[in-house]
């Protein structure tokens, strides 16, 4: 060890091993990728010995719900292999709802109970069966009472699952148009022209054309 390094070391005493273990633990936890010993050393205070801290940390996590594991030449914290069955929730792929579906859902939320004809009238375009089925499958809408009008059409209402997902206490708490505008929420709306050029499905394009024709 060179003279200058020795001097520096005495100036910046390495923290106790217990503290070093904490540091390695925090870094491994928060890093998006496995971390090498060299990287650990670079991030920890001068004089720290991450390799030794890792030995201690690894031992500490033995038999726990998560373990310190070596991935190539780097280290990471991973779920204990026998507990993989608990991670089913994490095996979910999220996709954005189609525009037709979100509009239909919005109309039901604001106008519930709403019949299909009413949804179509408000959207100004036919609602495909698939859209309603999809929302039913997601359990965001369900059937309400039949409307006591000729044909006794079924109505749709939103579910508790819908309220949970959108963080609402009740559908009545949805802000009205005036409030949306006051909150500036209408500002992000693309212009009608931009919508036409957008990535919308055919169903919507048809609707738009129809709309602008008259």
């Amino acid at each position: 060890m060179s003279e200058s390094e020795t001097r520096e070391k005495s100036l910046f005493e390495a923290p106790p091993m217990g503290a070093q273990e904490r540091m390695v633990e925090a870094i491994l936890f928060a890093s998006a990728d496995p971390v090498t010993v060299a990287e650990l050393a670079r991030r920890m205070p001068h004089g720290a010995d991450p390799a030794e801290a890792l030995v201690h940390l690894r031992k500490r996590y033995e038999g726990r719900g998560v373990n310190v594991v070596k991935v190539g030449d780097a280290w990471a914290i991973r779920t204990a292999p026998d507990l993989g069955f608990l991670m089913q929730k994490e095996t979910v792929e999220t996709r954005k709802l189609s525009r037709a579906a979100i509009e239909t859902l919005a109309i039901i939320a604001y106008h519930q109970p709403a019949t299909r004809a009413e949804i179509e009238e408000i959207r100004g375009v036919a609602v495909s069966r698939g859209t309603i089925d999809h929302l039913l499958e997601l359990e965001w809408i369900r059937f309400g009472r039949r409307r006591m009008t000729p044909g006794r059409p079924v109505t749709y209402v939103v579910t508790q699952g819908f309220l949970d997902h959108f963080g609402l206490e009740s559908a009545r708490d949805l802000p009205g148009l005036k409030e949306l505008r006051a909150a500036g929420l209408l500002d992000n709306r693309p212009l009608p022209g931009a919508q036409l050029a957008g990535d919308d499905e055919g169903e919507d394009l048809a609707g738009q054309t129809e709309l602008f024709e008259d």
């Binding site: 954005k96 148009l177 008259d214």
Partner: protein, 262 residues
């Protein structure tokens, strides 16, 4: 009105003037009149609970006067506050009118002091909140959430914002719809032209344009407007084609037409 503070706005010293300008130039930096009042209140160097609201009102009114002498335009809400403070000042200075049932000057002053104290308290609370350890800066969430396993299920997500914007988009679509006429109440220029072509053969004399309006289009104002516009446009077209002549005595006078003498 007497001014116990002896505020001398017309004998501004250079330093006073500079100070005032510095304050006023910064007026955009104030988040409204209450914020400005809070700033002014600091010059009294007392606890907000012991503040002299009368003195504060005078400081504010002085500020507004200076802004006027410096020809700086203040936003309307600053002027509304000035008017209210002038009212408050008069309430505080004049003996109470026993017939007046409204709140006393003291009550209004106490409320203003409360508002200032509350705003100050919220400012401090906000600062304390932001000074807390924050996620992503001081402490961290899991860097590798274990969503790396096989995809088993597709979950569809949408945010509340998506939902509300979708609804807003549908409900405000009409506002952006290109203006479409209600055909039933619109008399088109083509219709007018056709009608005029059939009639000008009989228009040897100067005749008021309005007499050419079709039947059933004169009673309802909107129908009448539409028919008049279309008929006028048609006469211009016919004049351009050299078939008729137009004349108008003066601006807004009735317009007359006749067949162009051949």
């Amino acid at each position: 009105m007497s001014d116990p503070q002896g505020f001398q706005e017309d004998v501004l010293s250079v330093s006073d003037r500079l100070a005032a300008e510095a304050l006023i130039v910064d007026v955009d930096g104030f988040e409204g009149p209450l914020d400005l009042l809070l700033m002014l209140s600091r010059t009294q160097k007392v606890d907000l609970r012991k503040i002299s609201v009368l003195q504060l009102a005078e400081q504010y009114l002085g500020f507004v006067d200076k802004a006027k002498t410096l020809r700086i335009e203040l936003a309307a809400d600053y002027l509304v506050m000035a008017a209210w403070l002038a009212f408050l000042k008069s309430r505080l200075l004049l003996p109470p009118d026993p017939t007046d049932e409204g709140p006393s000057g003291e009550e209004l002053a106490a409320h203003l002091a409360f508002q200032l104290e509350r705003l100050q308290a919220m400012r401090e609370a906000a600062a304390r909140l932001m000074a807390r350890d924050q996620m992503g800066r001081d402490f961290f969430a899991r860097g590798i959430p274990e969503d790396v396993m096989r995809v088993r299920r597709v979950s569809y997500s949408a945010t509340l914002l998506d939902l509300m914007q979708a609804y807003a988009r549908i409900r405000t679509r009409d506002e952006f719809r290109p203006y479409a006429f209600d055909r039933e109440h619109v008399f088109t220029m083509e219709q007018a032209l056709e009608r005029m072509r059939g009639l000008i053969g009989f228009a040897g004399e100067w005749t008021d344009l309005s007499s050419y309006l079709p039947d059933g289009w004169t009673a309802d104002p909107s129908r009448r407007r539409s028919a008049t516009a279309a008929t006028f446009a048609a006469t211009l077209e016919l004049a351009k084609q050299g078939q008729i002549e137009l004349r108008q005595g003066e601006t807004f006078a009735p317009i007359s037409i006749r067949r162009k003498p051949t």
